[in-house]
């Protein structure tokens, strides 16, 4: 199970300090998420595309991600235009699509994609563990970061357990259908995964005791701010401010 699809590389984004990444991404994402009319989300989308280009993200993998995200958005396009009160522009039998509904759906689509692209370019280009490390510096509660750390670390282990169980099931000629036998099989599969995970956690706990865990992980790599980090932080802050001022005054 390969989770960090975009983390390998040497682009500008791959070399940024993860702490800077969080501090610069969060305000941008919030400002974009709360925009109303579709003009400024479109500008944000262009800006996000620019970042994707600088980060040199693999196009094919990127398109796969975007497709997955836009399936939910597609559902909104089916229903939103017909639910909004407003000026009618299109009639289909008993349904009337309103101008406001279409504009709203368009704006949601642009915003969601702008945010997704920015997240991929900025956070996707770091390894998950260094992002978790950055969260410690950003004063996220230690317990939460450790929880995330172990959770992430053991996904691949449990996924392997899952594949093994899955293979055992198919060797016994299991075919998934809509019947009780299928549900029972899946329930026991999940149950077995839970039991295995519990056993793993006991071993981790024992290992922590052996190493005298006191609530802190020693880390040997440390972050250093470079000129590019300050530059990126300034660029993102200015962009976010300009977008915010334009979008919230220009309604």
């Amino acid at each position: 199970m390969h989770l960090e699809e975009f983390a390998e590389g040497t682009s500008f984004f791959h070399r940024l300090d993860p702490r800077v990444k969080f501090i610069s991404l969060m305000p941008y994402v919030i400002v974009v998420a709360l925009m109303q009319n579709p003009v400024y989300p479109a500008i944000a989308l262009l800006f996000s595309f620019l970042m994707i280009a600088v980060a040199r993200i693999n196009t094919k993998k990127l398109l796969n991600r975007l497709a997955a995200v836009n399936i939910f958005i597609l559902l909104l396009w089916v229903f939103l235009p017909f639910g909004f009160p407003g000026e009618a522009v299109l009639r289909m039998g008993p349904l009337t699509a309103s101008r406001e509904g279409i504009i709203f759906a368009l704006s949601v689509t642009l915003k969601a994609n702008a945010i997704v692209l920015a997240t991929i370019a900025i956070l996707g280009t770091s390894e998950v563990f260094s992002l978790a490390h950055a969260l410690v510096h950003l004063k996220v509660p230690n317990k939460l970061v450790y929880l995330f750390f172990f959770f992430y670390r053991y996904i691949s282990v449990l996924h392997e357990e899952y594949t093994t169980l899955r293979r055992a099931i198919s060797v016994r000629a299991f075919r998934a259908k809509s019947d009780l036998h299928t549900y029972k099989t899946y329930a026991y599969l999940v149950g077995m995964l839970i039991v295995r995970s519990y056993d793993h956690s006991q071993r981790i706990y024992n290992a922590m005791l052996c190493r005298g865990f006191t609530g802190r992980f020693p880390i040997i790599t440390h972050f250093h701010m470079h000129t590019r980090d300050y530059l990126f932080l300034i660029l993102m802050t200015v962009t976010t401010l300009i977008l915010g001022i334009l979008a919230y005054n220009g309604r």
């Binding site: 949601v108 509660p141 929880l147 549900y183 899946y186 329930a187 077995m192």
Partner: protein, 201 residues
């Protein structure tokens, strides 16, 4: 079960962030350092289990299992779901960082409700009472989640009423299946490793 970025209005996003922060606070308080490995690796198991697609008539749905998670983890379902959703936001861009709070509330609140109402049942020794507890927890997880999604959408704008209705209706069959799976799963755990049902205390 989650809502994408850019859909919800500011008041809904803020309410979600505040409520989830409260739930996470309680959950972290209950989670002593000793329990972190258990909660974390159980979360990994649920994350992997959510990859399973179950046939529902002509279509298929992936497992959510938030009701079952609630039975196992109690209030710690909040931090558990938060880390899972953060990873999804980070790696798959399903949901995202501004809607993280709302989405955590959507999935974790029914989990905690299932824990409070039905973990007394799953702690009993009678096998059919245990199975019933699991079934009701599974149903509560999905029904509560669907209801909260609908609520968040309608609170954002009345134009969402149709989408909200569709979401509620499509979750009905999933709800029953999750109930059945949770019932079998709790029964299984009770036989194989009953102490897992006590982690949430």
């Amino acid at each position: 079960m989650h809502i994408s970025e850019g859909v919800l209005s500011a008041p809904v996003l803020i309410a979600g962030a505040v409520l989830s922060a409260a739930g996470i606070g309680i959950g972290l308080k209950k989670m002593s350092y000793d329990k972190i490995p258990q909660v974390a690796v159980l979360s990994s198991a649920f994350f992997v289990a959510s990859l399973i697609h179950v046939p529902v008539g002509p279509s298929a749905a992936h497992l959510v299992l938030n009701g079952l998670l609630g039975i196992l983890l109690g209030w710690m379902a909040f931090p558990s779901i938060l880390v899972a959703l953060s990873l999804q936001a980070l790696l798959f861009q399903f949901g995202g960082f501004t809607s993280l709070g709302v989405n955590t509330v959507i999935m974790a609140t029914p989990a905690v409700i299932a824990y409070m109402l039905f973990s007394p049942l799953t702690r009993r020794t009678n096998a059919s009472v245990v199975a019933l507890g699991g079934f009701l927890a599974g149903i509560t997880g999905i029904a509560g989640g669907a209801l909260l999604i609908a609520l968040a959408l309608v609170a954002t704008g009345e134009g969402f009423i149709n989408v909200a209705k569709v979401i509620a209706i499509t979750h009905l069959p999933i709800m029953v299946i999750e109930g059945i799976i949770a019932a079998f799963c709790v029964t299984f755990l009770k036989k194989v490793k009953p102490e897992i049902l006590e982690v949430g205390k």
